[in-house]
Symmetry: C2
Subunit: 339 residues, 2 copies
Amino acid sequence: MTSRQRFLDAISGVELDRPPVWLMRQAGRYLPEYREVRGGTPFMEFCRDVDRAVEVSLQPWRRFGTDAVIFFSDILVPLEAMGLHVSIGDGGPSIGNPVRTGADVARLHGFDPERETGFVPEILRRLCREVDGKAALLGFAGAPWTTASYAIEGASGRSFQVAKTLALREPALVHDLLARIADATALYLRAQIDAGVDAVQLFDTWAGELSPSDYAAFAAPYQARVFSQLPAAIPRILFVNGAAPHLEAMAASGAGVLSLDWRVDLAEARRRVPGMVLQGNVDPCTLLGPLPAITGAVARCLAATGGVRHIVNLGHGVLKETPPDAVAAFVAAAKGGAA
Amino acid sequence: MTSRQRFLDAISGVELDRPPVWLMRQAGRYLPEYREVRGGTPFMEFCRDVDRAVEVSLQPWRRFGTDAVIFFSDILVPLEAMGLHVSIGDGGPSIGNPVRTGADVARLHGFDPERETGFVPEILRRLCREVDGKAALLGFAGAPWTTASYAIEGASGRSFQVAKTLALREPALVHDLLARIADATALYLRAQIDAGVDAVQLFDTWAGELSPSDYAAFAAPYQARVFSQLPAAIPRILFVNGAAPHLEAMAASGAGVLSLDWRVDLAEARRRVPGMVLQGNVDPCTLLGPLPAITGAVARCLAATGGVRHIVNLGHGVLKETPPDAVAAFVAAAKGGAA
C-alpha cells in the first residue's frame, strides 16, 4: 500500500494497520540539507525558486519516509500577490504597507494564481511527478482570519491587538478584507488542486486567540467561505492553534480533518466531534527531549484514537532547534517500528 | 453593602443584585497617575517601595470604584528572594542566573517572607488600613509551573521550549524545583494572609501552554501543594491563561474560584465545572475598542452566568495601551449603570 493510499484511506475512515504520519513544517531550517540549499536567500525569494522549493519539499520525505509531502512555501504568498510588501526574517513576517483603512482594503487586488503566483502550481506539478503517487501531496493556504491578522498587524505581535481593535472599531472594513482574502484563497487553493494535490490544509493558526463570539464572527464564516468554493471531492484539513474551545465550530467548517494543537486531548476531541478525522497532536517541544519521551508522546496519541481516522502529526510546526534524529524517531514511532 | 462583602458573598454563592468587579493588572502603566508616581524607577525597585506601591494599588479603586484592591507587585518577587537576579523591562522579565542544573536548584533558598520580602506584608498591612473593609483586599503569587518556567527560561519566550525541554530531560530536577517554589509560595501567601488579605489569587499564566498530560504532571500537583498549605477559610482563586482544556483539573486544585481567559465561553465553563465560582473573562483587547463593544462584552459574560457566583474581570491583565475611560466603562457595565 502506498503512503498516498494510506493517507486517503485514513481520511475515508478505512481501517488501517497503522495511521499515516507527516509533520507540519517538515521542510525547513532544522534540516542541514535545507540550510545548504537555502543558503542566504531571502525567504520570500526562496519560495519563488521552483527548483529549490521542489528540492526542499522532498527532503523530509526522502530522509524520514513521511506519508505526505507538503510543498515548501509560506502562508503569506497570497498577500504578496494581492499587493502587500511581505518580508520574513528571524523575527517573523513583516509587512511594509499594512492594511488599516478602507482605502488599504480597496487597494488589495485579486490575482490569477497561474499568472501571479505561477511558481506555486509549477512547484506542485513538479512535485506531483517526483512523488508519483507514492505519497500524498498536500496543498495549503492561510485561513482568512490568520492571513488578515498578518495584513493588519504588519508584524508579529503576541496579542493581535491591532487586528482585534480594527475588528471592534471597523467591523465592516474587516469583513470586507476577510471576504476578499477568502475568495482569493479559494482560487489559490483551486489552482493547487488543479496542479494535482491530494488534499488541502487551511491554517487558521491565530483563530485560537479569539473569544468564541469573535471566532464565530471573524474566523468560522470565512473558513467555510473558502471550503465552499473548492471541489466537493477534495479532502480538507483545518488547523487551529488553540483549538480546544472551537472543536464543534471547526467541525462545522466543511473540513473533514481537524488538525489540533497539543493542548487538547485527542480522546476528548474524539468524544466531542466523533465524525471528524483528527490530525496531530504532539507538542513540538517534545522533539527537543530524549527519544523515549517522543515515543511515549506518539503512543499516547495513538492510544487516544486507537489509530483510527487519525493522521499522526505535531500540534504545530517543527521547531528550528529540532534534531533530525528526533523527527526520525517520531515517524518511526508512528509507523510502529524503531527509529 | 460594602464591596468587600459583595466580593465574599459572590464567592460564597450568596445571591446578589450584581456581581463584584475588578481587573487583573488594574494598577499599572495605562493610568497617568501611575506613570507619574512611577517615574523612571526600575520595576523591581518600585515593587519594594512601600509608600508608592500602596499609592498605585489604591489608584484604580479610587478612580473606578472596583470591588477589590490587589496589591501592586510582581509574581517574580519570590524568585528574587530565593536568589535569582530578576529584572523587568519593556520586553518582559529577565533573569541573570537562570536555573538549568541540579546545582542551580540546590542554590535556591527558602525565605522568610516577613524578613526577606517584608515590604509585601507591610504594603498589605497599610492597604488593609487604607481600604478599611470597604473593598476586598487581594493577595497573589505566581503558581509553581509559571514561576519555574520564568526561572528556567531566564527571559520571555513564546514557546517555553527551554523549560519544557528541561522537564523532559530532567524531570526529577524540575519536580524538585517546583516543590521548592510551591513551599516557598505557600509561606509567602500565608504572610499575605496574616497581613490581612481577604482572598488570594494564584497565577498559573503559562500552564495553559502545556499538554493535558504535562499539565497533570507539572502544573496541577503544585497548585494543589500551594493551596493545601493555606488556612482552610481563605478563598482561593486560580488563574490559567488558556484554561479551556483544563477546567476540570483546575476545579480539583483546591481553588473555589476559577479565573478564566477569554477563549472559553463562561456558559460552557459553568456546565463543565458547575460547583465553581467563575471570574472573568473579557478579552483585554476589547478595552481598546469603542464603548458599546465593552458594554456588549460585559453583557455577554453576565448573560452566560446570570451574574451568579461570578466575579466580573478581564481574561488577562489590562493592556498598557488601554484608555482609562474604557476601564471606567467596563466597571460601570458590570455595575449595571452608565460610565
